[in-house]
């Protein structure tokens, strides 16, 4: 058992931290970037590619670097520390993960290579307005001649308008299939808009839109989707850890410097104890999320990874709300402003909470399986 990073992993962390710390040296820089489409910085994305960060989780024969979930978690956490708007979890872990899990050898080589090089940014079009967090899409896929077409609406699709390639979940006979759709496909409309955390999402409509099956045509890919979503939930957990750590650091620093009644706020024990509680939340979340990553690394059975991801997401939901809300409150009015950073951290934590299942969703899932175990045993 070892929860620490090795020297190569520390080197990766320092490199990514250096790069992102420079790219997002202030919340004002981030604000400038999120103001203009696509809501993130193509140059920073290129640099992440050059550093190898975009190909980390993928096999070398597919064009990746053969690293694993720990390396992904390191990048995700650094993304969170500066709340970099680049779509790391969305493009690499989710969309890329699906291609790796379900794609043919040819599709994998073609898409993952380009993703790792930063020349192709894919997005996973999965969420539907009436589907909530359900895995069962209403967008339908039909075989027509030797091809396939999709019909229906996906929304909100993160990064959906900027994406060079859409990976779309759609109902097929006997389950959920995955399809590749090119942005210029017939019968495809994409409408982009801003999300509250500075990102972009899209309304995407398919009207008999030509699509290529990802992997075996017509196959049910539910299991692959569930596993990849679990990996993305864990990665989001790390992104949230980074964000929570910064929110706490910023708040601590503020309590030391902000003066009211002639003394720094840290003179008021009521406030310092609240910061201490934020730290408690962060550490508990850190343990749970790191554990989930190790479960994934161990190659545990899919249902164990899915459960670990749920536990991590639940802890992150609680911690994110607690830390995000307290960060604003302890700052007072300044915490509410768009010119100051903590509010943006709270916004991003709120977004992460509601992506791929919020705390209550995961708590519901966990509460249906109480009978499966006497105690919860973290070690295999």
């Amino acid at each position: 058992m070892d929860f620490t990073l090795d020297s190569e992993q520390i080197a990766l962390r320092d490199a990514v931290r250096g790069l992102l710390g420079k790219a997002y040296d202030s919340s004002e820089t981030r604000r400038q970037v999120t103001k203009t489409d696509p809501g993130w910085d193509e140059k920073t994305w290129q640099r992440l590619a050059e550093m190898g960060a975009l190909g980390l989780p993928f096999a070398e024969e597919d064009g990746g670097f053969g690293a694993g979930p720990v390396e992904v978690s390191i990048v995700a956490e650094e993304i969170g520390r500066v709340i970099a708007p680049e779509p790391y979890v969305e493009a690499v872990v989710l969309a890329g993960g699906l291609v790796a899990a379900a794609g043919t050898a040819e599709q994998r080589a073609e898409i993952i290579g380009a993703l790792a090089e930063g020349t192709l940014v894919p997005a996973f079009a999965h969420t539907e307005p009436a589907a909530r967090y359900s895995e069962k899409p209403t967008v339908t896929a039909a075989a027509s001649g030797d091809g396939w077409t999709l019909t229906g609406v996906k929304e909100p699709v993160l990064g959906g308008a900027r994406a060079d390639l859409l990976i779309v979940s759609a109902a097929v006979e006997g389950g959920t299939g995955l399809f590749l759709v090119k942005p210029d496909a017939d019968g495809l409309t994409r409408t982009s808009y801003a999300t509250f955390d500075g990102g972009r999402a899209a309304h995407i409509a398919f009207a008999s839109t030509p699509a290529t099956p990802l992997g075996e045509p017509g196959a049910d890919q539910s299991a692959a989707i569930a596993s990849v979503i679990a990996a993305a939930q864990i990665a989001y957990g790390h992104e949230a850890l980074g964000a929570m750590a910064t929110a706490l650091e910023t708040t601590t620093a503020y309590l030391k410097t902000r003066k009211q009644f002639g003394v720094p706020l840290m003179t008021f024990q009521a406030l310092t104890f609240r910061a201490a509680d934020m730290y408690v939340s962060l550490e508990l979340a850190r343990s749970t999320v790191t554990w989930a990553t190790l479960v994934l690394l161990d190659g545990a059975a899919a249902e164990d990874v899915i459960e670990a991801a749920s536990r991590a997401k639940l802890q992150v939901s609680k911690a994110g709300r607690h830390i995000g809300q307290e960060a604003i409150q302890l700052h007072g009015g300044i915490g509410m402003t768009a010119e100051y950073s903590v509010g943006h951290y709270t916004s991003r934590l709120t977004a992460i909470d509601h992506l791929l299942g919020d705390g209550r969703h995961h708590l519901s899932a966990l509460s249906t399986s109480l009978d499966d175990h006497g105690v919860v045993e973290p070690l295999p």
Partner: protein, 392 residues
């Protein structure tokens, strides 16, 4: 002890309910229930409709348009308007500056300002807070130096809510820097079109513009705009901040928003199923309903017992728990919206319902409620120090 309203109060409630559900323009109530932002024009029309009916400023002295209502009747008035989706009269006018002018202003100031204030012909802004004077308001630094018949005002105010609409701003200014900080403050009314006064917008994290900074660069203010006596401003400010027993906890609007969330949840599950079938969500809503009941009953106890005109010490409970529940319901809305909550910027053509799109901006925006008007930490301090006698 008795639970029922007297016949008179029950009739009063009916009268209020009828008025608010039939006499306030529908577009205004629709905007409130859609949880959208009201325009200036809507706020003005809403308050003017109430003023025309003589019920915009019931807390003022009768000769200036007030009503001799009991605290319970004022409570009923306030609850009914919120339940009907009506915005309460602009607080800066109706519950802040109006009562101060009525209590401490000269006859000339009263005649000049009170009727226009009640009718929102003048839109007031509140200029108390400064960058370095928030919770510690008495440390404010904006100065007013008397030169003949005028004060010359220099300094900066901040967090001025809706200052972009403001015609006049009531301020606390330092008129004597040599005495203890509370003793050298005056209450001054300033025309926001005065030369040297500028308003700069502040963007909040929900993307909205509701607060501003206000800068004073040698702004000349006639001496007759001073309320009461020079250097007594702190007393008037305490009166202003402390005299509002009714409505500090927005129970009515929180109840309405929770009921609305419950209704929305009925079809917000996957494939249009009811989220209320999820026992966790159902339990969460039931708990919120019970917490709101406890709060409302506390509010009723406070108004029932404050007939002697003194603030009930439990007012701080109302402010504290009122904002906690208001925030909890905005948070619940985001949970009910689920992944649709991301679609904040979507416009026409979106398949995501508007109530889901506004959920997160509302949630983020209402983080303010526990900060302004005496933060929740300040309320706890009042409870600990004044009520429980715990002064370290």
């Amino acid at each position: 002890m008795k639970l029922q309203l007297s016949e008179e109060d029950a009739a009063f409630r009916e009268e209020m309910r009828t008025f608010f559900t039939t006499q306030i323009p529908q577009d205004i109530r629709d905007t409130v229930t859609a949880r959208r932002e009201l325009s200036k024009d809507q706020i003005v029309r809403s308050m003017q409709a109430m003023n025309a009916a003589g019920i915009a400023v019931p807390n003022w002295p009768v000769e200036w348009g007030g009503k001799d209502w009991t605290p319970l009747q004022r409570h009923i008035w306030h609850e009914e308007m919120q339940l009907a989706g009506v915005m309460p009269p602009l607080a800066f006018n109706a519950s802040m500056v109006g009562p101060v002018i009525a209590a401490f202003g000269s006859q000339e100031l009263k005649e000049r300002f009170l009727p226009k204030t009640a009718n929102l012909d003048i839109w007031w802004s509140q200029g108390f807070s400064e960058p370095d004077a928030g919770s510690d308001l008495a440390s404010l630094r904006t100065t007013a130096v008397r030169e003949g018949d005028e004060y010359v005002v220099n300094g900066q105010k901040t967090w001025t809510t809706l200052g972009q609409y403001g015609d006049w701003i009531f301020t606390l200014v330092r008129t004597d820097p040599t005495v203890k900080k509370q003793a050298g403050i005056s209450f001054l009314l300033i025309d926001m079109t005065s030369p040297g006064l500028t308003v700069r917008p502040i963007e909040l994290i929900d993307g909205g513009h509701e607060v501003n900074e206000v800068f004073f660069d040698n702004v000349r203010v006639p001496v007759e705009n001073l309320v009461g006596e020079e250097n007594k401003g702190w007393d008037y400010a305490k009166f202003l901040l402390g005299n509002e027993r009714v409505g500090v906890a927005p129970v009515g609007s929180t109840k309405r928003t929770l009921a609305q969330a419950k209704e929305y949840a009925k079809t917000a599950g996957a494939g249009g199923t009811s989220l209320l079938d999820d026992p966790l969500l159902a339990a969460q809503i039931a708990e919120l309903e019970n917490d709101l009941l406890a709060l409302e009953l506390t509010a009723l106890r406070v108004v029932a017992n404050s007939a002697d005109g003194k603030p009930h010490p439990a007012s701080s409970v109302l402010k504290l728990q009122g904002t906690v529940l208001q925030q909890a319901v905005t948070e619940l809305w985001v949970d009910i919206a689920g992944p649709n909550a991301l679609a904040t910027g979507a416009g026409e053509g979106s398949d995501v319902p508007e109530l889901a799109r506004t959920a997160t901006p509302n949630y983020l925006n209402y983080r303010k409620a526990s900060i302004y008007g005496g933060s929740n930490e300040v309320q706890r301090q009042i409870i600990a120090g004044t009520i429980l006698g715990l002064r370290g």
